[in-house]
């Protein structure tokens, strides 16, 4: 049981990372990555909503009638999103103001409804919980990487700490909307290149199990 939970947890972080592999729920990814601090808080909110809604939906999966399952999922997700929104407004009012409309918009994030529909409604509670935490952390890591790239190049700092020497001219375009699209595009391209290289290497050495290589081959 523990092993299966760990595998489900790991699955959300690398093999099926919602942002970099499945490319779903892109709106907050682009919008909140102007600074690393913002992306961390957004990530925490998503981890909370995803884990809580996955767990509850998995507990209720035998009671929810199949025909009205989507509205039921949306009500559950909306409830947890409201909790996250109110808590964030109380704990970090400044960050809440910057994230603005994107905290309530977690409701319509494809990742959350997607995991509810594809995973939580079909699997037992402990797996749904592991999936929620794994996918949430996968999302958070992805947006932190993107935010790091944008903050270092766009403002010369990381977590608000100056990294670049005084003579560094920050490329302001990186923290503006165009920079978000372009840096995410190249980040995804780099991910594809790396996984394709890895797939070639594993298929050559053939030391890995056949299922693993087939999986990587499909992605590359």
């Amino acid at each position: 049981m523990m092993e299966k939970m760990l595998r489900t947890f790991y699955n959300g972080i690398i093999p099926e990372n919602p942002t970099l592999r499945l490319v779903i729920g892109m709106c907050p990814v682009l919008a909140v990555t102007t600074a690393v601090v913002n992306s961390v808080w957004m990530g925490l909110a998503v981890i909370f909503v995803l884990t809580a809604s996955n767990t509850l939906i998995s507990l209720l999966r035998k009671f929810i009638p199949d025909k009205i399952r989507i509205p039921c999922f949306i009500v559950v997700i909306a409830t947890f999103t409201t909790i996250a929104d109110l808590v964030l407004a109380a704990v970090q009012p400044d960050v809440h103001k910057i994230l603005g409309v994107f905290v309530p918009l977690i409701v319509v994030n494809c990742i959350i409804l997607g995991r509810a529909e594809a995973f939580a409604s079909k699997n037992p509670v402990h797996l749904a919980l592991a999936d929620g935490v794994g996918m949430g952390i996968g999302f958070t890591l992805a947006i932190m990487v993107l935010a790091s790239i944008r903050e270092i190049l766009g403002s010369g700092s990381w977590f608000g700490i100056r990294l670049m020497p005084a003579g560094f001219e920050p490329a302001t375009v990186m923290i503006l909307p165009p920079g978000a699209f372009i840096s995410l595009g190249f980040l995804l391209g780099t991910m594809n290149l790396v996984t394709a290289r890895l797939a070639v290497r594993t298929s050559r050495s053939k030391q890995k199990s056949s299922s693993c290589a087939a999986h990587a081959g499909l992605e590359g």
Partner: protein, 195 residues
């Protein structure tokens, strides 16, 4: 003048795709052909205008008088989901031709963050009823303009030799970024005249 500012701002300056990042999933998903992009655009204009009107009424006639503003997210998403279902049924009965054109796009719109986004932003801005409706329609027009332009570009790069790792989403995002730079030029265009 105020309405003109909302319209110009919604279509060009604060374009939902290029500067506010709202509604990106359908933007990247159904922009492979101009024809499907047009269908999606029409459906979005229709639903966003209706949703702006209905959520304004919910906000100002129910939530604010009862001091239930914290229920905004739950109330709005349920109303939008119901509205989309209702619109789908009405179109199916009234105009089968229109249903043929919009039918498959309508269910997708419930989880389009642009629709919930416009409702929440209208409430945040404190718009009046007519302002909210105009803002919904203008922002939806801006979204449609973006997806049509993008579909036009995307149809053309089907024949271009792109490195394998950049195919699909990566090149689409870079192209959107370049278009976003172009739209950035509108930022200062009306400064001093309208704003």
């Amino acid at each position: 003048m105020e309405y003109l500012a909302i319209i110009i701002g919604g279509i060009f300056i604060n374009n939902y795709i290029f500067s506010r990042f709202l509604g990106l999933c359908p933007f990247l998903g159904v922009s492979k052909q101009v024809e499907t992009a047009t269908g999606m655009g029409m459906a979005v204009i229709f639903v966003m205008t209706m949703a702006s009107a209905v959520t304004w009424l919910i906000q100002n006639l129910i939530l604010v008088p009862l001091h239930l503003e914290y229920m905004q997210t739950v109330a709005f998403i349920l109303v939008i989901a119901a509205l989309v279902q209702f619109v789908e049924m009405v179109i199916m009965k009234v105009s089968p031709v229109l249903y043929q054109a919009l039918g498959i796009y309508l269910p997708l719109i419930t989880t389009n963050c642009a629709v919930l986004g416009v409702a929440l932003l209208n409430a945040m801005e404190g718009y009046g009823f007519l302002q909210a409706v105009v803002s919904g329609a203008a922002n939806a027009l801006g979204w449609t303009l973006a997806i049509l332009l993008f579909a036009g570009i995307r149809e053309r790069w089907a024949f271009i030799d792109i490195p394998p790792s950049m195919q699909g989403f990566p090149i689409a995002l870079v192209a959107t970024g370049l278009m976003s730079i172009a739209f950035f030029g509108f930022q200062g265009l009306f400064r001093g005249i309208l704003f």
